[in-house]
């Protein structure tokens, strides 16, 4: 039963006329070249146009270093929190049935469906000095908006669905049998979590971290609203790039852009590496599935 069906499934893919195949591949490559490869090359070309000296001067400028530091710090806070939230939320949703589960799923998606600018405004409305909460904080010398904490908060808001969205389907697919087995065999709660649950979802979790990191470093809209744009203090790399551009320092703007691009590429390489690690597992399971079917 299994093998003829498999052949049927395979045939449409391999039986496409060569012209169609070539056309599809060409279109895909053309798109990649036009929308990704050429712009990335342009960023680096523009950054190096005035020579390597100008490039490095732009990157080691104190304001640039401050922006890089703030960006890395923001990501370093947002990503672990995102992971903690992602595990908690996906665990709750995959393992338990409770009233309002659908609502929770929808709420998790809010940061995706709301414009980042509105996310930023929301924090200004809530924590600006004219709001009750913000006024109280200001009276006690706590600065959130137009300071680093505001930027971190806004970044956490726009990234928080990322890990959860990766983990929920994986947790649901894995099911709870292995965990139940662990408990039956005498494992404690944390033991089960670290030995069974976490290893089962680790690649999804790392992939979620990669996505979250990329978004945290690249976010513009939400942080722009809460930043106050104080040079050397509350500018993240994307905000600093805009400032340099508006200062007519185009080479420096592209130099910092290229650095941000490099960070993105490093993130992509990490993702590629992770995906490669997942593939053998899949084929193993497929083989198993085939064996079982046979």
């Amino acid at each position: 039963m299994a093998s003829p069906m498999q052949n049927e499934l395979k045939r449409p893919g391999t039986a496409d006329p060569p012209a169609v195949r070539i056309a599809l591949i060409t279109i895909a490559l053309l798109f990649v070249a036009l929308f990704i490869f050429i712009p990335v090359i342009a960023v680096f070309a523009e950054a190096l146009r005035q020579g390597i000296g100008v490039y490095f001067a732009a990157i080691i400028d104190p304001e640039a270093r401050a922006a890089i530091r703030l960006t890395l710090m923001t990501a370093a806070i947002a990503v672990p929190l995102n992971v903690a939230f992602g595990i908690a939320a996906s665990w709750a949703i995959a393992r338990f049935d409770f009233p309002g589960k659908q609502l929770l799923l929808t709420l998790i998606d809010i940061p995706f469906s709301v414009s980042p600018v509105i996310a930023g405004m929301l924090f200004v409305l809530l924590l600006g000095v004219r709001a009750p909460l913000g006024g109280w904080l200001a009276d006690h010398g706590i600065r959130i908006i137009f300071a680093e904490p505001g930027i971190v908060l806004a970044t956490i808001f726009v990234t928080f669905p990322l890990a959860a969205r990766e983990l929920i389907p994986i947790m649901q697919a894995v099911g709870s049998e292995e965990e139940e087995a662990a408990i039956v065999l005498g494992a404690g709660g944390w033991q089960m979590f670290f030995r069974v649950t976490l290893p089962n979802v680790k690649w999804g979790l790392l992939y979620g971290m990669v996505l979250c990191n990329a978004r945290a470093m690249g976010e513009f809209g939400a942080v722009s609203v809460v930043s106050g744009h104080i040079r050397g203090h509350t500018n993240t790399m994307p905000l600093y790039i805009e400032i340099l551009y508006n200062d007519y320092q185009f080479a420096a703007a592209f130099a910092v852009s290229s650095l941000l691009t490099l960070l993105a590429i490093a993130t992509l390489i990490a993702k590629y590496y992770l995906e490669r690690r997942v593939v053998p597992v899949k084929t193993e399971q497929d083989d198993l599935a085939v064996k079982v079917a046979a």
């Binding site: 710090m73 672990p80 004219r130 104080i230 203090h233 053998p280």
Partner: protein, 343 residues
């Protein structure tokens, strides 16, 4: 998979190291006086020069190190940020109406702030000019040429930008004079002009880069200083300034923010910083950055740089910002009535 656990652990470890490095480096900041100057868009180069000179003078006079942090953006947007809690020690904005808004909405400084420094707290002035591409291919000579069909005009959004409000009032003043004081005809004229605006940026500098770097539009309505700065940055072979038959005296004011200064203990230095702008050295820097100086000696020295032209003033011709701001730029004001995006 024996290798996977260690890879996972290593990835986590790398992240923790990266995080602690980022956080650790963030702690190193020397103790010294810090001022925050919240300014509008085209003063980036001006205050970079002013800050360097003031810090040098202050160090020589008191031995203290002072760092002046800058924040730039559309004047109205910046005032908004100060109202919402951006802790500016001083503000140097595009028009008095924006500082009045800080008084009204947040009460951070007294209502008579404008009388605390000479010249209505405006240490420099400017005017509104037209920047066109070299050789003036569209033959733009005056405001009339801006309402012609097919002319693309670049000017920022008066709701967010101070420069844009001066632009608007210069146009309005011209149209009113031309039509013998008929406001409905003036509105039709200004409405026709804004129909020719393809991009309404949120700040003056955004408009300049739209015009100069992205090469959109035939004419940029701009601060004189912004237009001259663009020529300096992009080359005299690319643009030229056209002085219209009548323009407006733009008076960008400065003020220290009392409530913030009290909290920071920076009242004396904030005042000294703004007073520096009125000194001959400050006025010299102002003129070098294409703002019109108040000091007569410095003004005489740079006379060729600043041609004289008939200029309306906000107080004599528009009844001051307290009248002009709600009438023209408030909700449901003249600008809202004449500007319908996309029409």
């Amino acid at each position: 998979m024996p290798g996977s656990r260690s890879t996972f652990t290593r990835a986590i470890a790398a992240l923790v190291v990266a995080a602690s490095v980022a956080l650790g480096v963030g702690q190193s900041r020397a103790a010294q006086i810090t001022l925050l100057n919240v300014s509008y868009d085209p003063t980036r180069e001006l205050y970079e020069a002013v800050n360097a000179q003031f810090a040098k003078d202050w160090k020589a006079k008191t031995g203290d190190d002072v760092t002046i942090n800058q924040s730039h953006g559309g004047s109205g947007k910046q005032a908004r940020a100060v109202i919402d809690g951006l802790e500016a020690d001083v503000v140097t904005l595009g028009l008095a109406g924006d500082i009045d808004a800080i008084v009204e909405k947040a009460g951070l400084l007294p209502a008579n702030w404008q009388s605390r420094l000479p010249d209505n707290s405006c240490p420099y002035t400017s005017t509104i000019v037209l920047l066109v591409r070299k050789g003036n291919p569209k033959k733009i000579k005056d405001w009339d040429d801006l309402v012609k069909p097919g002319i693309a005009v670049i000017t920022p959004n008066p709701k967010a930008s101070g420069g844009a409000r001066w632009n608007f009032l210069a146009t309005w003043g011209y149209a009113l004079k031309k039509n013998g004081g008929d406001e409905s005809k003036a509105a039709a004229f200004v409405g026709a002009l804004y129909k020719n605006v393809p991009v309404l940026d949120s700040g003056a500098r955004g408009s300049t880069t739209t015009f100069a770097e992205r090469e959109i539009g035939d004419v940029l309505i701009a601060w004189e200083n912004e237009a001259r700065m663009a020529i300096k940055q992009f080359g005299a072979d690319k643009y030229e300034v056209v002085y219209p038959s009548v323009s407006i005296l733009a008076e960008p004011p400065v003020a220290w923010i009392d409530k913030v200064d009290q909290r920071h203990g920076t009242a004396a230095i904030s005042k000294a910083y703004l007073e520096f702008l009125y000194t001959p050295a400050g006025q010299e820097i102002i003129a070098q950055n294409f703002f019109r100086p108040r000091d007569q000696t410095v003004a005489a020295k740079y006379a060729t740089q600043f041609p004289s032209l008939p200029m309306l003033t906000i107080d004599a011709d528009f009844g001051g910002w307290k009248t002009a701001q709600p009438k023209f730029f408030g909700d449901g004001g003249v600008f809202d009535k004449i500007y319908q995006p996309g029409s």
